[in-house]
Point group: C2
Chain length 363, copies 2
Amino acid sequence: MTARRYAALPDPFPMWRGGVLHGGRLAFETWGTLNAARDNAVLLFTGLSASAHAASSPADPSDGWWQGMVGPGLAIDSDLYFIICVNSLGSCFGSSGAASIDPATGKTYRLSFPDLSVEDIARAGYESARTLGIERLDTIMGPSLGGMVVLAFAALFPGAARRLLCISGTAAAAPFTIALRSIQREAILNDPNWAGGNYSAERPPSAGQALARKLGTVTYRSAAEWQQRFGRDPIRDDMRRDTPFAPEFAVQGYLESLAQRFVSAFDANCYLYLSRAMDRFELTRHGEPVELMRRARLEQALVIGVQSDLLFSISEQQAIAQMLEKAGVPTRFASLSCIEGHDAFLVDIAAFGGEIGGFLARR
Amino acid sequence: MTARRYAALPDPFPMWRGGVLHGGRLAFETWGTLNAARDNAVLLFTGLSASAHAASSPADPSDGWWQGMVGPGLAIDSDLYFIICVNSLGSCFGSSGAASIDPATGKTYRLSFPDLSVEDIARAGYESARTLGIERLDTIMGPSLGGMVVLAFAALFPGAARRLLCISGTAAAAPFTIALRSIQREAILNDPNWAGGNYSAERPPSAGQALARKLGTVTYRSAAEWQQRFGRDPIRDDMRRDTPFAPEFAVQGYLESLAQRFVSAFDANCYLYLSRAMDRFELTRHGEPVELMRRARLEQALVIGVQSDLLFSISEQQAIAQMLEKAGVPTRFASLSCIEGHDAFLVDIAAFGGEIGGFLARR
């Protein structure tokens, strides 16, 4: 069962750094009903690796990546809102990307997919909402990469959203995060199976991609959380291996499990494109940030950050909130003390749900 | 020119996790003169990747890894002290390790080198000092891995040191650091050139080792420092490459330069041994920590930590200081606000020199 639908992108679809996409499409799912005034839509962008399946629905009862947050009576309330979650352009869960078929050749794009930017992800979401007959969104929102996308969206499409909700995003990738992401990409590029992007379905660059994901996971959580969860517990017996320098600790087993799940689900080339797009994002390329946010004609904003976030620091969240305030947008800045780091939005549904629900209920 | 000398280890030399070493030796350098009472010796252990060449000397005028800290009139004053810096057992700068020759076979040990522990590094340093006729050290000290070694030393050899100086160490590796180090090791294990440890001198696992070092470097510094140093500056033109997903930012060029320097100097197998030894260290294996430190008969201690240290958190430094205090050792805890993270001891010679010099001058 799937609740996945597709929006056809304008053809040609111009890409921010050059090139165009022909026959592009975006995968999305929806919850709730668009009202007659067409003014109750929430557009939700995701983090790097999520699909459009944010939560269960009658058409797909399986749990989504934000289960407990999106649905009837929940913080993002489908009784009140028409919620659209899009799979990012460049991702591999139904949207056009390096792993999809180039209609011009009938073959997988691979590295012939045009350069991808955060701006393209924003534009593709914007165009998808238009295909649903929505001219102005009630709220654009997103965590992590999605938080970068909503800032790009506000800069690119003034007046297209009434409210903005940014979670653990940034207005410009910091060199520390560029370093960490570029190491993750290098792990894939180094894997002989990557083969310049031309890997077969049978032999993907799994080892490199698993390594990349492990490092990603480390940056998404926090040292304090792991001290609580794992301490120095040994690895489970069934995960022991008889190879040199094999894993010994529970935390290594945890990383391995998550990495294998990711490798089996996510395309390596898509990962490379999306990861680099994050490095390159810099809101100031579009103009002076406060002026950009003023022109966006936002009526309200909520910025949520997590104090234990290693990757998108709490000071960056505060800077986003200040930028919006200076632009005259009534803004609430929520600095959460969750222990789970960057990933807290996926884990601490209570804390995030309280903030998000409170914001959306003020409609 | 070299100032390097060698200490023969007792034969057999028992290893902490089993096995023995035959014909083992430790490389070391010294500064200053041992006094007639033989009670002015400082034994300095290093971080993961350093050699015994801490500073220049008449015999080797080249800069050392702690240049400006060790020498006549400096914080670790060779006019007052006889300073011995040892290359860790298991390392590759003259001491016995995976890259040295097994006298039993005449061949490089590689993975036949016995399991290495922090305790072995401590014991080898202790035995080296004894070969120099020193029964009791004035001070044992070390940063990072060296900070773990001095705690092991105090537990293993009660009364063998009068004072302890621990910089950015830990009494037990935290799961966050285990995760980060195990990813670094995996980058090497994944490199086809590693070949189960049997790489040739011509084809070492450079790509994996470079990746490992880049990640190490990220964890040794801080996000705030890199924001200041690099911001979003582009990579130098001469470091640009025409390959897919090539580096674009200055911070990537910086990581590449450091990684190449490391790869050309350090043996991959030795790195694996030392890195794993750090994961495994847990002072409580020797007994109740406060009781251990009481039995060590230390007269004074200095514990230095850096607030921006991602890897060996300031709370771990505080815990070490509290353990020593509880054991009745007069202890100063210096919590430094340097921006350079874990590596600050290598960079902020003024701040560290002030603390270390002040401590040592109280002789």
